[in-house]
Symmetry: C2
Subunit: 317 residues, 2 copies
C-alpha cells in the first residue's frame, strides 16, 4: 500500500541540462496521479519506468509553458500506445482552449476519453474521490489562474481486535459501531472504541504548491500533511525578485511548512541562475529541519505510521 | 568555414530513454539552420552547447508532433533569453494555425519578430539565400504536407593565381572575367580560365529528407549532395509497414543515396521497436557503403574538398 512520489522535473521557467521542467507522479496504492507536465515529461516517465496507461489523473496547476508543454507529447503517446481508459484532467479553465487546440490539430490518435474537470474554487474542495483516496484543489497566488493540490488517503475504518470480539462477545452490529470509531453502549455499560479497536494507519497526504507567492491561508490548507512540496524558486536574498514574479524563496517555503506542521518539506522549481542549489538547504533547515531538495529522478516514499497493537489493547473491567 | 551537423534527436513517433524526437542544427560558416523541433529539442540544444540566439532559420518539415512539439518551449525560451533578432521559420501552411495558437496563449514573452515563410512548391525552390549559402525546399511523400530541405554553399568565385596575374599581365577587368569562370579573350588569343584560376573549394551541401516514403524524383533532387540525411524508420523486412505509414526502410534510403550519388548517407528516425538499430548498418552498406547511423548528440563535420593548386596551374604557350 505504497504512497510514493516520483519527481520528474525540478526546473523553473528555463530548463537546464540537469533539470527538466515541472512534472511529478504520485503512486497511491497503485493508482497514479500525475501533477503538471513540463516539456520532456514523457521521456522522464519512461526513465522512471512509470506506466503511462496507469496514469488515471493529471493535475495541471496552471498553463505557464514550463508546467504544460509536455502535455501534447504525453496525450499523443498515450494514444499511440493504444490507451482506452479515461484520463481525468483537473485544470484551470484557461486550459480548455489548449486542449481544444490539441484535439483539433493533433488529436487524431486520441481514442480514449479525456474528462476535463475545470478548477474554480476559493478554498480547498474535493474534486475527485474513491473509496480510499481523495484529491483536493485550492487556489494559489501566482500570475494567471493557478491551483495547488492535496492527495490524501481517507481516514481508514478502525480495525477491531480479534481478542476483543471474544472477550466482549461482540455482535456484528457492535463490530460495525466500533469500526466507525464509536463506543459500544450496552444499557449502562460502555465499551470505549479505543479499548476494542485501533486505527490501522494514519492517513497519508501529499500537497503540491507550485507556482505561488506566499499568502496567509496556505499553511492552514496544507496543515499536517505528510509531505509538502512547495516551490522555492529563489534563495532568501532574492525575495524582491520572488515578489515581483509571484514566486517563493526558501525561507518562505520553509515558513509555510513550519506553520502548517507538516512532516516533511520537499522543494523544487529552482531558478536556472544556480547550477547547484545545495546552498538552499541550510536556508530551509534553519527554519524547518525536515526540509529536502528535490532532484530530477527522485523517488520519495511516504511510509505508513502503523498503529502499535500491543501497546493499546487492554480490557476494561 | 565549417559545415557541421548537430544531431539532436533520432527517434520516430515514440521517443525512448535514449532518443529524442527529430531535431537537428546545421552550422554553415557560423550561421545556424535548425531543422525540425521535436519535444525536448531545447534541452538537447543546451547539451550540444548550441547558442539559441544564433539560430537564424528554423525549417519545419511537417506538423506531426514528433517533429514539432518542442517548438513551444524553444520559442518561449528564446523570448525569455531576450532574443531580439528575427527568426525565420520555413514550414508548410499547416503550421500557421499552430503558430497563431502559440502566440495567442504563450507569446507574451516573444518580443522578437518571427518571419514565417509558407512552403508550397512541387519541386525544389530556393526559399532563402545570402551571399554564400542557399536554402531550398521540396515536397516529400508523407501523410499531410511535408517538405525536405537542402542547405548548400553557393558556387564560389574562382580565385586567380597570383602567378598568372604577372605572367599574363592581367587587367582588373580580365581578373573579373576569370573569377566568373570565363575565359579571357585578347583578339585571337584565349587564356582558358582553368589555366589562370581555380575553384577554391567545391560547394558543400546537406539534404534532409524526413519523413518520406520513396518516390522517383527524390534522387534527382538531392543529386550529388555532400551529406544526405534520409529517414530509415524501418529495417528491410518491414517494407509493408513502411508503405502503410509513408515511411522508408534502410534499403530504400540507401537506394536513394546510391542513385543520387551523394558523398555520405546518414539515417535516423528509428522505430521505437528496436532499442538497438545496429543491424540497420549492414542493410544500408550492402547498397551504399558510405552509410552511417545517426545517434543523438552526434556532431558530423563536412570538410571542404580543397582544390589542389599545384596540380592545376600551368601556363599555356
Amino acid at each position: 500500500m505504497n504512497f510514493t512520489l516520483n519527481v520528474l522535473g525540478t526546473a523553473s521557467a528555463l530548463p537546464t541540462t540537469e533539470r527538466y521542467p515541472s512534472a511529478q507522479v504520485l503512486d497511491v496504492r497503485g493508482r497514479l496521479f500525475m501533477i503538471d507536465c513540463g516539456e520532456g515529461a514523457q521521456m522522464q516517465l519512461r526513465r522512471a519506468k512509470v506506466s503511462f496507461q496507469k496514469i488515471e489523473h493529471l493535475c495541471l496547476s496552471h498553463i505557464h509553458g514550463d508546467h504544460l508543454f509536455g502535455i501534447f507529447g504525453l496525450l499523443s503517446t498515450m494514444g499511440m500506445l493504444g490507451r482506452s481508459s479515461v484520463l481525468n484532467i483537473y485544470a484551470p479553465k484557461t486550459f480548455r482552449p489548449v486542449l481544444d487546440f490539441f484535439m483539433q490539430h493533433f488529436g487524431e490518435g486520441v481514442k480514449y476519453e479525456i474528462n476535463l474537470v475545470e478548477l474554480d474554487m476559493s478554498e480547498p474542495e474535493i474534486v475527485y474521490e474513491n473509496r480510499t483516496v481523495e484529491l483536493l484543489s485550492f487556489p494559489l497566488r501566482h500570475r494567471g489562474e493557478t491551483y495547488g493540490f492535496i492527495i490524501r488517503e481517507k481516514v481508514p475504518p478502525y480495525n477491531v481486535y480479534k481478542e476483543a470480539i471474544g472477550r466482549y462477545g461482540l455482535s456484528l452490529a457492535e463490530i460495525g459501531t466500533l469500526k466507525r470509531g464509536e463506543d459500544v453502549v450496552r444499557g449502562d455499560r460502555v465499551i470505549p472504541h479505543t479499548e476494542a479497536a485501533y486505527r490501522p494507519y494514519e492517513p497519508r497526504s501529499y500537497a503540491y504548491c507550485s507556482d505561488t507567492a506566499p499568502f496567509p491561508e496556505l499553511a492552514t490548507w496544507v496543515k499536517g500533511v505528510s509531505l509538502l512540496y512547495h516551490e522555492a524558486t529563489y534563495p532568501a536574498e532574492m525575495s524582491e525578485m520572488a515578489e515581483k514574479n509571484f514566486h517563493s524563496t526558501t525561507v518562505q517555503a520553509a515558513s509555510v511548512a513550519r506553520e502548517a506542521g507538516v512532516d516533511r518539506l520537499l522543494v523544487g522549481h529552482y531558478s536556472s541562475r544556480f547550477p547547484s542549489v545545495d546552498f538552499y538547504l541550510d536556508e530551509l533547515r534553519s527554519i524547518f529541519p525536515e526540509s529536502y531538495l528535490a532532484k530530477d529522478g527522485d523517488m520519495i516514499d511516504v511510509p505508513h505510521v502503523i498503529a502499535s497493537r500491543e501497546a493499546t489493547w487492554q480490557s476494561s473491567k
